[in-house]
Symmetry: C2
Subunit: 568 residues, 2 copies
């Protein structure tokens, strides 16, 4: 495997062998390591000292179930700290086949380019002809020009505008640009570098094969059995997707409602996973409740949501979208959520940050809660770069600053995902301490065997989750497999060993995860973060969530022990 370096300033490229100390790293472990090694902490996120790193997982390309994810990393314009975001889709696989464990994008430029990567090398061409278009349209144009077999990373209009809520789209297995490297505004970093799209063209390249095919097949078979036996990955996710969580979080008082105010929502049944499944099955047509976001995944938590005539509106409607674009905005209709979701995808924005930002704007009274037409208009404003779009485009923290709002549900400048931290306190600990800012994927605790309303034990649960997820993020695997693996790291290690042909142990991959967290926090210290950044917004400590009857009250010293000052 190689690293591909691209200078956007000069429009040149070069290859280098993966250094030996990077050989065992993939995904988040590799993006964070390269950012730590090559980006100074004080770099302006949109300047030439920042780098944008796409790294696939150690197992990406293997076609083991749910192992085709790809990570992107950089210093984030949203948080000001190190950032990794990962996604399914087909790009990781193609990048792997092209032979690049990592693509490091350097430099900045004003115009926008398409970077075309194939077995013949790297070509650059102006992206003018696909700028300013909805992503589905731009994607079709790329397919027409370069062939349907390609994959890509691509920013939408929000990324062209260098907005904090811009993500990077990845082509899904059905050809639509609807998987997202969503969080942390890394689409703005791509925009600053003049990268509209990186096209990954693997024509004429053979698939990747495991070094020890028989052992690999056996290890993957066992992993697949674990996934099938687990009630979440084997049953709930395929049936209801992540939306199956709506009832759970509403019961716990953890559903975000009205800018993270009340914890439960009187219209929650209308937006539950059960209603979602029924609606999709009733309407039929292009809709499906069970859909894989990447080749070979058996969890298939994605879905395709159709309109009443059976035509596809959007894919996927996930729990986070329901929570942030729905209940958090006082919106209790799946069709309305689907339309907002579709527009977020078309304009290339992070649905979580967008819902958080609109929620704060509703708290400010600029538009009322429940105003779906107003929310739709705001998304069009984002696309066009109009003033209200710029305001939303800055993300929830900046909306709060511009309107003098006190209740702003962010940590390290990043919007909270769809779990009230007063009601699922382990996630509150993750929000507070993760180097990524508020991010459920950085340490999800909802499946932990613990009373989520109690303060005790949450720090340990969060620490375990934060370390565990890095294993998955680094292998290119979906972290939904975590509860199925249940700590049997040697089982995962056997898949890796057989795939790369070198013996790896469970302890070694856990060590790699801890080291990754350590360097991420070290980067953040060099960017100016202190324990003061490892906090929730003030009001979560003082205002009781009426549904759970709780405030966030996990022991502060314990929380800090796993934050930026804890990992040294």
């Amino acid at each position: 495997m190689k690293i591909l370096r691209i200078s956007m300033t000069d429009l040149t490229w070069s290859e280098e062998e993966l250094k030996s100390e990077y050989a065992a790293l993939g995904g988040r472990a590799l993006t964070s390591r390269i950012v730590f090694d090559e980006v100074i902490g004080t770099a302006h996120p949109l300047g030439s000292n920042n780098k944008l790193v796409f790294a696939n997982g150690v197992l990406t390309g293997s076609l083991a179930s749910s192992a085709e994810r790809v990570s992107v990393g950089a210093k984030s314009p949203l948080t000001g700290g190190i950032k990794e975001s990962n996604s399914g889709g087909t790009a990781g696989l193609k990048q792997g086949r092209l032979g690049y464990r990592a693509i490091v994008v350097e430099g900045i430029r004003d115009d926008m380019q398409i970077v075309h990567i194939s077995k013949d090398g790297v070509r650059f061409e102006s992206a003018d002809w696909i700028l300013g278009k909805p992503l589905s349209e731009a994607a079709n144009l790329l397919d027409e020009k370069f062939g349907k077999h390609i994959s890509y990373y691509m920013i939408g209009s929000s990324g062209e505008h260098k907005m904090n809520l811009a993500g990077i789209a990845v082509k899904d297995k059905d050809g639509s640009p609807t998987r997202f490297l969503g969080r942390g505004g890394l689409g703005a970093v791509a925009g600053s570098k003049g990268v509209k799209a990186i096209v990954l063209d693997d024509a004429g390249i053979d698939r990747l094969r495991p070094k020890q095919p028989e052992q690999f097949r056996a290890a993957v078979k066992r992993y697949t059995e674990w996934l099938q036996e687990n009630p979440a990955t084997g049953k709930s996710f395929p049936d209801y997707g992540t939306a199956g969580l709506v009832r759970t979080t509403n019961r716990l008082g953890a559903l975000p409602t009205f800018n993270f105010r009340t914890g439960s929502f009187d219209k929650h049944e209308a937006i539950s996973g059960e209603t979602l499944r029924e609606t999709i099955l009733e309407r039929g047509g292009a809709g499906t409740p069970t859909h894989a976001c990447m080749p070979g995944c058996i969890i298939r938590c994605s879905n395709i949501y159709p309109d009443e005539a059976g035509n596809k509106i959007t894919t996927p409607i996930e729990y986070e979208n329901i929570g942030l674009l729905g209940s958090n905005l006082g919106i209790g209709s799946l069709d309305e959520i689907a339309e907002l979701n579709r527009l977020c995808n078309e304009y290339g924005v992070d649905t979580i940050e967008t819902g958080g930002a609109i929620g704060v704007l509703m708290e400010a009274g600029v538009l009322p809660f429940g105003d779906v037409e107003g929310a739709i208009q705001l998304l069009h404003d984002v696309h066009a770069g109009r003033p209200m779009g710029r305001i939303i485009g800055g993300g929830a923290a900046l909306v709060g600053k511009l309107y003098g709002v006190y209740r702003v549900p962010v940590v390290k400048g990043q919007s909270m995902p769809a779990y009230d931290p007063r009601a699922i306190k382990g996630l509150g600990v993750t929000y507070a301490t993760s180097p990524m800012g508020a991010d459920h994927t950085a340490g999800q605790t909802i499946r932990a065997q613990i009373d989520h309303h109690k303060a005790e034990g949450q720090v340990e649960v969060s620490r375990n989750a934060q370390e565990t997820v890095i294993i998955f993020d680094s292998l290119g695997m979906c972290y939904f497999g975590a509860s199925a693996v249940a700590g049997r790291w040697d089982g995962l290690a056997e898949i890796i060993s057989a795939y790369v042909g070198e013996a790896v142990t469970g302890d070694e991959i856990m060590q790699m995860a801890k080291e990754t967290l350590t360097i991420e926090h070290a980067f953040n210290r060099s960017a100016g973060f202190t324990h003061v950044d490892d906090r929730l917004p003030e009001h979560f400590y003082t205002e009781t969530n009426p549904a759970s009857g709780t405030v966030f009250d996990v022991n502060e010293m314990e929380v800090l022990s796993i934050g930026v000052e804890g990992y040294r």
Copy 2:
């Protein structure tokens, strides 16, 4: 002297004697000490844990020349750190006569109140009838209702909107609300507390008298002679005001132009202090080039700028306004600057932050440099709270984030005043290291005997200036006296001793200044600041100022030695 505490949550008040450890403190030394003692570092700036402290100087009320200034302090919503801002006008004097060394405003509320303070105590009444009006209009209404003898602190529409660029207006000696506690967004803090205005009604209260009148007269007489003998305070300031600096900074390459780009301006003569004086004298009428901002000041650096018919447009046109609202925006007309200045005053915004924010917006290409009509429209948008007004209202740093701009001339989130730090490097050191963020009044070095283009010696010059200014800020004295005093602190100490009737030495007041700086940095550490915050924006280190031929290259380790990690 007493402290008055006002709870805006409950609309109650109480008095307490000044603690013995506060007895020698006034102005900035006292606001910073109370903020340090009573506000936790993690407090939300617009929440009930923040406090807004108005403190007059130890000499305020004495009518010694240029000693009637008042300070306001709080945790700043703009910088996130401790903030002090001070102003001339008549409020300090009235507050002193009312017997309050400090007024501490606590709590928050949603509606807006007028707080009326007189010898009969504190009354609260709804401010509804003066909301949303230009400040001159609201000020007339206050005078009509409460009598022309009152003074006040009052926020404009920008403060009602809780915008980061909102200052707090103070009545000047001629009755207009045009002196400003301008910087750091403390008008937004007042807005969050529901304080539209604090009326200071000293009817029936005798003037303050020195304890040792004879010694006091003698000491003040000597100080007055120093001011008269000094070429700046005795001649240049009365003739040209601060605008006399335009030629100097243009020659040095330090004039901010086109968002701090080129360092000199081809139209600088049209906006120089000399042209300003000639224009005012030619037009006559209400205009005057020599005008005191507070009772008894002999420096009289203020002015009243008239239109061609001799009617007053605005007061005062200062160097900072010319630099930020003029050359920094590519605007080379005093009349245009005067109109922008007038609107800033009417809407209660900091002219420096406003000019900085519009400059970044021009850099982003939203409107062209030189577009005065566009700039005027933006100020009306601020007043009305429209989207573009909200964007500008966040200040330059947030405009930069919303538009993905790389060159944003701020430190700790606050706009640089009108000196390019590559050409006056001592000021660059002050910008980088002051606990206040980029602020020339926190350590002005332009009069230091040093080659401003050279890196050597600037840290020492800035450190001296930063410590010295606190002496003035704490006495209620204008720091323009610093070059006249020229380190003869015992001479100042004699004024204080005679006024308060207790012996104070020059060493003691210098010690007080150093302690103030130490606790300000300590507060900022508790708010999460590190040495990473003690930096200029990246591009000032790498992009050469074409007029001076320099970048900012003062030794980084030396700079850090007087920043947040240096004062311990």
